[in-house]
Symmetry: C2
Subunit: 246 residues, 2 copies
DNA sequence: TAGTGGTCTAGACCACGGT
DNA sequence: CCGTGGTCTAGACCACTAA
């Protein structure tokens, strides 16, 4: 269990500040040499630290010490920028793509439409303190938002919805699971394919209880911590609520 | 990118039912041979499938096809057994330990007490269809539950609270993050140290708004999918709510 | 006891990033 | 262009599981 010792040693260097947040770790070959081991074993230790959220990888660039996670409250998280600023982080958004497309099977099921129907798909990459942390893809029902693409869609959809269409998010049905990053999502996040990820899927409703859009979010898993307050209801409601979403 | 092809090939065997839920995959050496590669590369592919939640490992026993995840709603999840049964799963609980201890620093902070104070610590291992999926550790304030250990604590604390102490969970503050399994927790789950995990931390309040206990849950990450309905509040409440928990 | 997974060695080549 | 990380080879020994 050599790699456990290596993990602990690196961990301690992080905790004592020898390795600082955001800084790059030494090259794998150098680390391997300094721990008197091979790259394979060293990478075992690094993978462990990665899965604990202590360090992260940028594809072909190396390993870095993770910044603190963003606290994400599904009850309030309609505006990424506001959430980031409230936590003293610098948010940034880039529009990756925006177009009207046909829904695929998964989206059609989520939005309760058919694969013949059109939806707006808006893909954005969001960063915290210059580190890309999440790819968000929104699928939006055009019937509620005609000519949506003429407005600002790079920053807050919430604001555009409210100011141009008088629609406000009031309810969100969300799912959270873990998975890994792949393909374009991984590239956008500058992550190696296969990096661990937190996957958040949300169905959003307006003030009239219309389902107006859904979004799929792939987070670098160390960049997010879900945190919220739940008011418990009686257990009998349980089953019916769940059936609807599955 | 050989390991991606191997991953896809195994994935397809799972999807087409050649490998069935709960069944063990062939030995690593045999898989490696059949894909004409080495164990290291094969294990790269297996690790990817593991991080996607398609397969899981039992320490020194091999790789198995993952059953569907349990849907976990923080708004209703006060009884593991009820939740499992509602989803046609067979729940099982084992008491790992139960004693009165001094709070450590983390627990003291969570429960708003000092490290001199005593709390009940109850550790339970919970299984679905004979597969251990989560280690739950409860830390309970004795002032609200004198002589707690005289009652049944293996199954539902909720029920014991209600029937013997007239206290009902009404509010839960929860946190969700990803981490890896280690030490006793990994062993109890029959998992290899370092396996990916979902970590759920909850603070529970009774009908009089007393904080009565907290619990730390380490889930096999493929065994759980968080799913809930959030009613959105105005953004200004956001900051104050978050500060309290961090 | 045989076979398995857990761990480790000692290399190698390539494509890409940064200089 | 050099150094890096990404990927891969071809083994090895050990402790443990399952028979």
């Amino acid at each position: 269990m050599q790699y456990l010792k290596i993990k602990d040693a690196i961990n301690q260097q992080i905790n004592t500040g020898i390795l600082q947040i955001g800084h790059k770790l030494p090259a794998e070959r150098k680390l391997a040499e300094s721990f008197n081991t091979t790259r394979i074993t060293l990478r075992e230790a690094l993978a462990l630290l990665e899965s604990e959220g202590k360090i992260y990888r940028e594809d072909r660039r190396g390993w870095f010490v993770s910044p603190p996670a963003l606290i994400y409250d599904p009850n309030y998280t309609t505006e990424f920028a506001a959430m980031a600023i409230a936590q003293d982080r610098k948010p940034h958004s880039v529009l990756l793509s925006a177009q009207l497309i046909h829904a695929n099977q998964h989206i059609a099921t989520l939005l309760n439409i058919t694969t013949n129907d059109s939806v707006y798909r808006i893909e954005r990459l969001r960063s915290l303190d210059s580190r890309p942390v999440v790819v968000v893809t929104n699928y939006i029902l055009p019937e509620f938002f005609p000519d949506l693409l003429k407005h600002d869609i790079t920053h807050s959809l919430t604001v555009t919805y409210r100011e141009h269409y008088q629609r406000i998010y009031t309810k969100t049905r969300f799912r959270i699971s873990t998975t890994s990053l792949n393909g374009n999502t991984a590239s956008a996040l500058r992550a190696t394919a296969g990096s661990p990820a937190m996957f958040v899927e949300r169905l959003n409703y307006d003030q009239h209880d219309n389902l107006i859009d859904c979004d799929l979010e792939y987070w670098r898993h160390d960049a997010i911590r879900i945190e919220s307050l739940a008011t418990l209801s009686s257990a009998c409601l349980h089953k019916t609520t769940q059936k609807k979403m599955s």
